[in-house]
Symmetry: D2
Subunit: 343 residues, 4 copies
């Protein structure tokens, strides 16, 4: 087991949130990663156990306010940015310019068109140079670009299920690219760790509702990826819902097809498409998010009902939808086994 | 308050389940209803508190195995059937033939076409005579038939949100009747009170998944009602999901329109359509099921996104989706104020 | 039904929180109460539906910032204060001095000893005059003082279960008054509506933990009431826990007894003690909070295990633990049937 | 990392339940364990993914009905019994007599006194020979017996928190051994995977209640262990509660002490006692079960309130309370690092 492989010194930027906690948990299990720094805006000088009690005793490091030089001084080779959007594009350039590699879990480097970024995120992109080099970190689709990538834009939680669920159909030119409706249901960790009325327990518990209808920021990210796969412009109707559970995203995706494929042929298509990938499981049963809880799997199936195709994709938004994908990207970047620390 | 109005003697047939408990709770608050009998298959001779601990001390009646004659001997005037489908059409004919009126909460009298019943429920309909007389008990649409109805088929929980959500659009001939996709999310009481693996707490808690895709029995019921409203054949794609909460159904309904209506015009249309109804609330915010919890309200709104119309309809499946609607029907049947016992 | 009884004009002070919403819901069902004003600090000029979407369409009043004179100008006869502690003793004196009656749901008038108030709430009591007149509003114990009370201090949610659970034992001098351990488990609405880290869904969902160990402010309230019942100084060990559910408190109470009573005798004692009360249900089964959900009941039972007595008391913290008790007090104050609007 | 260490061939007996699924998940991560057989009563010839969809694609073995000879024929060296109580003592003797070692997750070999077993489990113990040799598998207390143990009785979920929480106090002779009250709160997986009314989602969700008061079978197991530690007879009052969450046990333990220790001294005592153990975390904050979710940790703290000591112990009932402890025992039995596959 890889005893002659290197150990990469990594830093977690923005270590206070849920994706950071999940990432630390996974990296502590990784034989080729050593966390040497954790930065924070609001929790400086706190112990990890104060910020994340679940990680008590796991790592003898404090959260710190650290400048780029200090991170470099510690020998950091790879930075994982768990920062809010708008912050990564401020923090990462200094590190990238000094030779570090980075996996950015924010949205800052996902949209290749900076105008789209400005339109959906409400501010101009301030790091066009690195934006142009960023690789969209969906390993099943862009795996070959990862070994040489300097900056990896880790995909959003909703986009992962939507893109992986639709890729075989669009790549096979099987569906009408203007017919796509993505009805997604997410657990509450997807909303982050900052308390709000919407995520206050008695408001969202025992309830389901839609939010950000027609204006969720993952929409252009999904369309960008699907357009690239289809080779033609794809527009989607994306409706996210908040479900009273901690983790998990189920996307129920409706598309129309003029080709009238048979269901077993479709499943075969999916199995072929994901044949060499360890984390996309093409299943015959209807996937529930619970089947993927605390794993890096995306469970996908497909049904034909009354001339429409319905795709179901389930995943854990904190593992596969964020930190697990980040580790998967890290493994690909450094040539480690793709599943390391993730099974 | 109605002191000169009659008190109707009612029986609850099949008093062991969730809809029965909810109905008893509501009727105990009703000044014009007196529960004089509760029948049961499995819990005969038990006290109400043994079967429904929440109702301890509320009603000094036992659950009993009672024949039609015994119910008539007690002076029952109106029977509420909370029986499984297939059982109502066996139990109710004897009572209806002896002059009782009935509200049936099962599916037995909802589909006017007995072939459709046979096809979806797997057995022939055995009471065609009463089926022909049954009124579909959606008071907002069929309210005028209720005062003279002998037998009211209380609508299914999913159909109520779907039908009330789509009625203004179809009545106004505003949408393509073949474009309808209904993505519904339901709490677990919708699955009834019998323990199963799917509803075992650790299986469905912290999870969301679809079920009965393409074959849920509420599909023909929805189509029958929508076809009647549209005046043309309507087909829907209906996908139910199980959400980890007790009560509540949210239906997210996607339709296409060639007419390109404006959103404010649509809301106005909805407000006009439901102007005189006390229980359909046309709201501007996105409704969450929690807003309707333990009430008889259906909260509806509509959004236009990229040339598609999305309708959101939220309700409590045990109140509005079952027992509340039954009481609303009862009120209409006997001329009581529509909201009695329901506010 | 009470057609000749008066209708009392009431105001809700502090209408933004959960207890206010519950109170409004109950009072809208009350034939002898008319809500004529709702005050607020943070939500002035908002419609009720903006603050409490569940109450959409129920009441055509806005939330307002209103001075005492304005409330009096509207003819308010009774004020329900749903204010944070420390605010009621500022707002109520002006109203009480002008002849209004009040039910205070805050803690301000519960502790008769102002030193105890200062010690546990961290500030001096500023309204000793009315404090001296306040009646502790636990109707089962102080019901006879309520018809003449001007100011009723509505009890805390935890104290109600603890006091009602222990009263028969202490009144009967059956237990060691220094042996009492109260292990309580509460739903999250008990923590109020202001978002905090502790009540952020992903923090408290799927988890149980204790909080405020040894320093919860309901401790002196419980001891004051139990001491009055016992006629001797009572000290309790009170440990509250946060349970991932919206509503409900279960108190598991451990006491020792030198008298060795038999369990059936104890149940008989409890039944006798609560014989004339409509809301305390002495049950034989182990009560779960769900049996009391959305009701004003307190379900109590008692078990003897290895020479210790265990009392179980379950209630809905928003109804019985707050707003339901307030309406019960209101009914007693004005001579209405005790159960009105509460069944 | 142990490349020269052996790989032990293991079998899972009774592979259909939750503890089996958790055990398989952990063992698949263990470099020194190879699952070569999974037996079942009800799911014979099913694929693992049919029984545990979460494990889809993880292991290419079917569940089978296998006799002892067949297990031995496969080279099984160690059997993990995830069987109901009463079944392990039938299945294991054949394997033990043929030289296998075993970790039994049922209750069959936990109570050293067969009379106690008969009394609490309602049947005579049928394997006294192996019962006499069984080691109680709580590694923090009996770790030194494990390397030579043939049969390890994996402790119950409740006992682990209770025993580890009380051991330092009893070993230090600091408390009154007759004063112990254990108020425990458990998630629903603790009740197993068979659907029942009590564990039907709409029955236990949004509710908390006690069960098996005074007669839970973990009582004698706790007392046996505590008596051994104290060197004197210990009796406990143990009250379990069902909490609406999947996993987690919090035990709130009340004891009296004549010694009046200081809180910081107590924490120091705990830290010393568990100094060399990797899985008991003595914390200063109040532990919530969520801090231990999906881990093998037991988080313990202690508070002094009004001359009583309160101990809080939190753990994940499926990991630490069952399958994680089993792997920890396995590691000790075979000389692997204690934390292997568990971090």
């Amino acid at each position: 087991m890889a005893t002659d492989q290197p150990v990469i010194k990594v830093a977690i930027l923005g270590a206070s949130g849920y994706t950071a906690a999940e990432l630390i948990r996974l990296l502590l299990r990784h034989p080729n990663a050593e966390i040497v720094a954790m930065t924070t805006h609001q929790d400086a000088e706190k112990n990890l156990s104060e910020v994340h009690p679940a990680l008590t005793g796991r790592l003898g490091l404090r959260l710190e306010r650290l400048a780029a030089d200090e991170l470099i001084g510690r020998g950091v080779q790879c930075a994982f940015a768990c920062l809010p959007h708008g912050k990564s594009m401020v923090a990462l350039p200094h590190l990238l310019d000094r030779g570090l590699r980075a996996v950015d879990l924010s949205a800052d480097y996902r949209l290749t068109d900076p105008n789209l970024y400005a339109q959906w995120y409400g501010e101009s992109h301030s790091d066009l140079a690195h934006l142009a080099q960023a690789v969209y970190g969906l390993p099943e689709l862009y795996g070959e670009e990862l070994p040489t990538a300097t900056l990896v834009a880790n995909p959003g939680c909703y986009p992962q299920g939507a893109i992986l669920g639709l890729a075989p159909l669009l790549a096979g030119n099987l569906i009408d690219p203007t017919s796509i409706i993505i009805d997604s249901k997410s657990g509450v960790t997807g909303a982050g760790r900052t308390p709000t009325t919407a995520t206050h327990f008695p408001e969202c518990n025992e309830s389901i509702g839609a939010y950000s209808v027609g204006r969720h920021r993952h929409t252009p990210e999904i369309e960008q990826a699907l357009t690239a796969i289809a080779g033609t412009s794809v527009e989607v109707l994306f409706t996210p819902h908040l479900v009273p559970m901690d983790r998990g995203i189920l996307s129920t995706i409706y598309v129309t097809s003029s080709r009238r494929p048979a269901q077993d042929k479709l499943l075969e298509l999916y199995r072929d498409f994901y044949h060499d990938t360890p984390f996309v499981r093409v299943v015959e049963h209807l996937p529930a998010t619970k089947h993927t809880l605390y794993t890096n799997f995306v469970d996908v199936t497909v049904r034909i009902v009354r001339n429409r195709i319905i795709v179901f994709a389930a995943l854990d938004n904190l593992v596969r939808g964020a930190s697990g994908a980040a580790v998967q990207n890290f493994n690909r970047m450094y040539g480690f086994e793709e599943t390391r620390a993730l099974m």
